[in-house]
Amino acid sequence: MEAITGWWDDFFWGSLVVVELFFVALILTVLFGLIGAAAKLSKNRVAHAIANGYTIIFRGTPEILVLLLFYFGSAITLTAIAQAFDPEVKFVDFPPFWAGSFAIALIIGSYATETFRGAFLGVEPGQVEAGRALGLSNLQTFIYIRIPAMWRLALPPFGNHMLSLIKDTALVAIIGLEETLFVAEQAIGTTGKPFTMYILVGAIYLGFSTIITLSVMLLERYANRHLEIAS
């Protein structure tokens, strides 16, 4: 255990990067999920086909491959663009943080698309019709009726997506983001204690998973508070 002494601060900053990555990717995931669900539910055949292709591709290919494609693909494209303006430029890359959060958000977003689609379909049509009858606009029914009724249904599966999301952040170390797994590799280089360091990374992730699981439980209780029997 004494091998970790002196590395605590590095692991702390690494964990902070994981948290940042998680929240940025989470916002993007919700965004991609909502857009995907809207496209799948729309009557527009082109939007429907694009959303279908999106979920098939990102749910059927390994996460690591999507990540590598995003990082190296964006790097080669950016370098080509930069060289068109200035031939002196050797290499430009998209920051691993953003390449990573986009790749992860697109992957988890494809799962969220299906979850949100199901949840929107689960909203009782009567409630939407009631809103219409009261003279609410399309946008107002969406914000005041569909969203509050839908997130309650989407919450349990979405909690699982959040767990997958936090676990996928570990992959971003492969493209060189300085998060916990990356810190562990550096610490191993100096201390020669791989088991201790990787177990610590595992413990950090287990802590994050626990926090997410507990938060989702509290949120579920909050979402269903109107269903509780008054005591």
């Binding site: 059927g60 390994p62 790097a75 797994l181 191993i188 791989p194 360091m197």
Partner: protein
């Protein structure tokens, strides 16, 4: 930047050389993981706390940490420990292939046992009671009544898990194994053509995913043929 068709034609056969390893990783860890899952399930539902509590902790740890970290702990971390280097498992844990199989098996075992538990819980209580009323012993009730129905119930979730296991096999490339992803990464390192290589590999993985889904769809249809109405 150009899109090199010749490179695609050239690299696809090279990547397919790794399909054997991908299949070995998939089928071996699926078989071992399913066996482990059955043991974990029986321990979990045994009703004895000294069997079910360790199982719950095991499942909690393996579902709460990233599979990449688990692979790194086993491949890079275990050699640090004296007693593992002297144990009879060392010939397996010395090789990256053995480590990948062990990590994937332990991980899938945790996920699949939860799926199986869901299936067992889903079996109608009345059926078990009917069995008890007929004087069938608990063991026989489990084998002849609970298990066949539970298998049918958890098949869709199980097929999803097979697909995510197939995606996880790509992570074996991070511990020097040359599966399809490992070969693709080598080709990209040489040619620096991420789009051509990674996108073609994604198509290969999509075909495999489609194949898994189709096979399970066929099995599901066959297993529920007594429910389907004759057309």
């Amino acid at each position: 930047m150009s899109f090199d068709i010749a490179l695609i034609i050239d690299s696809i056969p090279k990547m397919l050389m790794g399909i054997g390893l991908t299949f070995q990783l998939l089928f071996l860890s699926l078989a071992l993981g399913t066996a482990l899952a059955i043991i974990l399930l029986l321990m979990r539902i045994s009703g004895r706390w000294y069997l079910s509590v360790p199982t719950m902790i095991y499942i909690y740890i393996f579902r709460g940490t990233p599979i990449l970290v688990q692979i790194f702990i086993i491949y890079y971390g275990f050699p640090q420990l004296e007693f593992i280097r002297e144990s009879i498992f060392w010939p397996i844990l010395r090789e990256p292939f053995g480590c990948a199989i062990v990590a994937l098996t332990l991980n899938t075992g945790a996920y699949v046992s939860e799926i199986f538990r869901g299936g067992v819980i889903g079996v109608d209580r009345g059926l078990k009671e009917a069995g008890a009323a007929l004087g069938i012993s608990a063991t026989h009730r489990f084998i002849h009544i609970t298990a066949p129905i539970a298998i049918r119930l958890c098949l869709p979730a199980y097929s999803n898990d097979v697909i995510s296991l197939q995606k996880s096999t790509a992570l074996a490339s991070t511990i020097t194994l040359l599966d399809m992803t490992g070969i693709a990464r080598t080709i990209v390192a040489e040619t620096y053509a991420p789009y051509e290589v990674f996108v073609s590999l994604m198509v290969i993985y999509l075909i495999l995913t489609w194949f898994i889904q189709r096979s399970f769809g066929w099995i599901e249809k066959r297993m529920s043929r007594h429910i389907r109405e004759e057309v």
